[in-house]
């Protein structure tokens, strides 16, 4: 006997199949590419284990309170970000619009990063891996010049993947292979978000759990590689002196903030599909702790592999020196090994200093190799791919690695798209006429068409711009207004009563203090420090220019004024909605004050949300 589809909750709002799906979606949204390629880098440059101190302090006083706030808000009001903030107070509606705007901007460029991951994934099925060998030049006499001067891995990334232009103003052409991959990525996103959380809820089981499996495999394999212990020691050796540098505290605060994906509106959207009587306090603490543990867990295989790569590079350097010494002095094979290299060098230096000087030996220092720290796309597409070539069975490792990155990014994309999708679904004009499938299709299509700009030759420069300006500053502003809005406009007393109704217990002193004082203060300090640092250093970027004298080092260039204008626009656009909407409602109220028949709307409370 077939039964018609399950009737959703009384108010017609879709809901999660079970609590695990919801928690997994929040974790998937929070755990993203940044946990793999930003946190280990920060740990490394800010004194290893010592970085964990500011990190956990920021988690305690900034991350968890804000997370709890967003989840409780969404659960209580059962609306997306725009509707939720409109309900809290019409003057705060701009906060919702701002976070919607940020979600749109981030969705645009985030999927292009996934495009690069997909491109590397489909290229991992070849033997040998295409980024391990340099192609020949035109007349087949030698290797391609650009590849020869830098490395094969760099060449594949900058030339074969991005086909990068030497300057952000030179747009270059659309790269057809990237367009294909971009279309495939947006098709995957559409497939998974086609009916909102009904479909993402199923997909999240795979995309949220699979990365942990792969990280474990890499952990086990990484620890068996030679040099892994050097890398791990380098990562975790605490250097408490770095804590004196305020930059470290700022980086910890911003890392926690961006890592938890706060102020995107996606978390509000996710929790709005929950039943109201749900313990959002426990959820918030769970998600935050899992996110931080994942960062730590991911940094272990990353640094084992980096240690392996550094050790291999060091050994190669030694071997090359040994060969030239043996050739020069006609010593028998295997007379100089890596172990007695230093003894031999000192002996030869004392007896034949001119010959040794004439050889121009490179100074091999393991520390120097370990110091080559990179974060972001450079870590994944240059450093890690180089390390993968050195492992036996490289294809399998490459495939695993890129599928893991893809799942990590995809689960974050779900949150971004939900943050765009849910508020649109609640607009009365749209929800009646357009089926969900069509709306998600339109969103994905429009985003795909706009994201074609990032497949130009200068695309990766633009993605850096979007990442630094649209995905950073507006979030701080919006989060600040979120906390202030709930604490002082909605009033903490009322909010505590709502939370008590939902979870069954009153929020304790920790929540009261952090919501009222500590988190807003911390956000304000971080915002001011962030802006100060941004203004101090002239905004420049590193361009890949083969014709540059210092090639293969990147060329430092300054942004032209029109690009700077776009940067400012990106940073200001989401934030400007906050005062604009408040102003709009203020003017409306002043006009309305003259109308005597007007009745002010009833005071809102959680219990009444369902009726």
């Amino acid at each position: 006997l077939s039964v018609p589809p399950e009737i959703p909750k009384e108010d017609g709002r879709p809901k999660w199949d079970n609590k695990f799906q919801y928690i997994l979606s929040c974790i998937g949204f929070a755990v993203g590419l940044g946990n793999v390629w930003r946190f280990p880098y920060l740990c490394q440059i800010h004194g290893g284990g010592a970085f964990l101190i500011p990190y956990f302090i920021a988690l305690l006083f900034e991350g968890i309170p804000l997370l709890h706030l967003e989840l409780a808000l969404g659960q209580c009001l059962r609306k997306g970000s725009i509707g939720a903030w409109n309900t809290v107070s019409p003057y705060l509606g701009g906060v919702g619009v701002g976070s919607w705007m940020v979600s749109v901007l981030v969705s645009l460029y985030y999927n292009t990063v996934l495009t690069w991951v997909m491109w590397y994934f489909i290229n991992s099925f070849q033997e040998p891996l295409p980024w391990s060998v340099c192609p020949l030049n035109e007349n087949r006499t030698g290797l391609n010049e650009e590849c020869y001067e830098s490395t094969a891995v760099n060449y594949f990334w900058y030339r074969k993947t991005l086909n990068i232009t030497p300057d952000v103003t030179e747009s270059g052409t659309l790269q057809w292979w990237l367009i294909l991959c971009l279309a495939a990525c947006w098709a995957i996103v559409y497939l998974c978000t086609i009916r909102g959380i009904e479909t993402t809820g199923k997909a999240i089981y795979v995309t949220a759990i699979f990365p942990y499996l792969v990280l474990t495999i890499f952990l086990i394999h990484g620890l068996t590689l030679p040099g892994a212990t050097d890398g791990l020691a380098y990562l975790f050796t605490p250097n408490l002196n770095t804590l004196k540098n305020p930059r470290v505290w700022l980086d910890a605060a911003t890392q926690i903030f961006f890592s938890l994906s706060l102020a995107f509106g996606g978390l509000i959207a996710f929790s709005s599909y929950n039943p109201q009587k749900n313990d959002c306090e426990k959820d918030a603490v769970t998600v935050a702790i899992v996110n931080s543990m994942t960062s730590l867990y991911a940094s272990i295989p990353v640094f084992s592999v980096l240690g392996f790569k550094a050790t291999t590079g060091y050994w190669d350097c030694l071997d090359r020196n040994i060969i030239s010494i043996i050739n020069e002095f006609d010593l028998p094979e295997e007379s100089i090994m890596r172990q007695n290299y230093t003894a031999w060098i000192s002996f030869l230096n004392s007896s034949y200093p001119e010959k040794i000087a004439g050889l121009k030996l490179k100074n091999c220092d393991l520390q120097e190799f370990l110091d080559q720290s990179v974060s972001g796309t450079g870590l994944a597409f240059i450093i890690f791919t180089q390390a993968i070539i050195l492992m036996p069975g490289s294809q399998a490792w490459a495939i695993l690695f890129f599928i893991m990155l893809f799942s990590l990014g995809l689960s974050s994309m779900f949150g971004n798209i939900e943050g765009v999708f849910t508020p649109l679904l609640e607009l009365p004009i749209i929800s009646k006429s357009i089926p969900k499938e069509l709306l998600s299709g339109i969103i994905c299509l429009i985003c795909f068409l706009i994201a074609l700009c990032f497949t130009l030759g200068s695309g990766s420069y633009w993605i850096d711009i979007f990442d630094s300006y649209a995905g950073s500053l507006p979030l701080l502003v919006i989060a600040f207004f979120e906390v202030i809005g709930v604490a002082y406009v909605y009033k903490i007393k009322r909010f505590s009563k709502d939370v008590k109704w939902m979870t069954g217990r009153k929020p304790n002193l920790y929540w009261q203090i952090t919501w009222r004082f500590i988190s807003p203060l911390l956000l304000l300090i971080v915002f001011v420090a962030f802006v100060t640092l941004q203004i101090q250093k002239p905004s420049s970027y590193a361009a890949w220019n083969p014709k540059h004298e210092g090639f293969p080092m990147k060329e430092e260039k300054v942004y032209p004024p029109w690009v700077l204008a776009i940067c400012v626009l990106l940073a200001v656009l989401p934030c400007v909605f906050v005062p604009l909407v408040a102003l709009f409602h203020l003017i409306k109220r002043m006009c309305r004050n003259k109308d005597p028949s007007f009745v002010p709307p009833a005071v809102f409370s959680c219990k009444g949300a369902n009726s």
Partner: protein
């Protein structure tokens, strides 16, 4: 393996073989190849004399060309490669990498795209079917309720009429058998 006099003999033989193949004259003997300045490093100089012309050496360019032609054989004889067995002043020509007609990545991409499109198609069609069914059910119920004559009996929220249409079986034991009942 260790380098000893036997290996040197093999080397001389390979050089002689290379010259014989190159110049196609079978007069070069192993004794024509001379090694000098052999060091522990296993590096040495060698010359090839020409026995037909008295005590002159074969020009270096000819020897180079011969070796270049037979480089592969010489390498295999010693189980070495171009990198481990170096002839100074003879650079190896690079072999072009094997390029399949369709790049491999395009094939993988095609597979991935087909899967995605199939998934989207399936989901969209399922959604349309579900919506049609829901619409039909709600219009049926509306029609029946409008008439007012037929009480819409509902079982678990499903009208009984639709229950009949679905995979229900009529229980043969209770099937109305006209002959059983006495006619009035």
């Amino acid at each position: 393996y260790a380098w000893d006099a036997n290996e040197e003999y093999l080397f001389k033989a390979m050089v002689a073989f290379a010259l014989r193949r190159y110049s196609s004259k079978s007069t070069t003997q192993i004794s024509n190849v001379l090694l000098c300045n052999v060091t522990d490093r296993v590096s040495f100089w060698f010359v090839v004399t020409d026995s037909s012309k008295n005590v002159t050496t074969v020009p270096g360019s000819e020897v180079e060309a011969a070796i270049r032609m037979n480089r592969n054989r010489i390498n295999s004889a010693f189980l070495l490669s171009d990198k481990t067995l170096q002839f100074l002043k003879i650079t190896s020509t690079l072999s072009p990498p094997v390029e399949p007609s369709t790049p491999v990545w395009l094939i993988v991409f095609g597979v991935v795209l087909c899967l995605i499109v199939a998934g989207i198609f399936f989901l969209v069609v399922a959604g349309i079917q579900q919506r049609k069914k829901k619409n039909k059910q709600s219009t049926e119920r509306e029609n029946l309720e409008e008439k007012g004559e037929v009480a819409v009996t509902v079982e678990n929220g499903i009208p009984c009429e639709t229950l009949d249409l679905k995979a229900g079986h009529i229980n043969g034991v209770f099937a109305a058998d006209d002959e059983r009942f006495t006619s009035l």
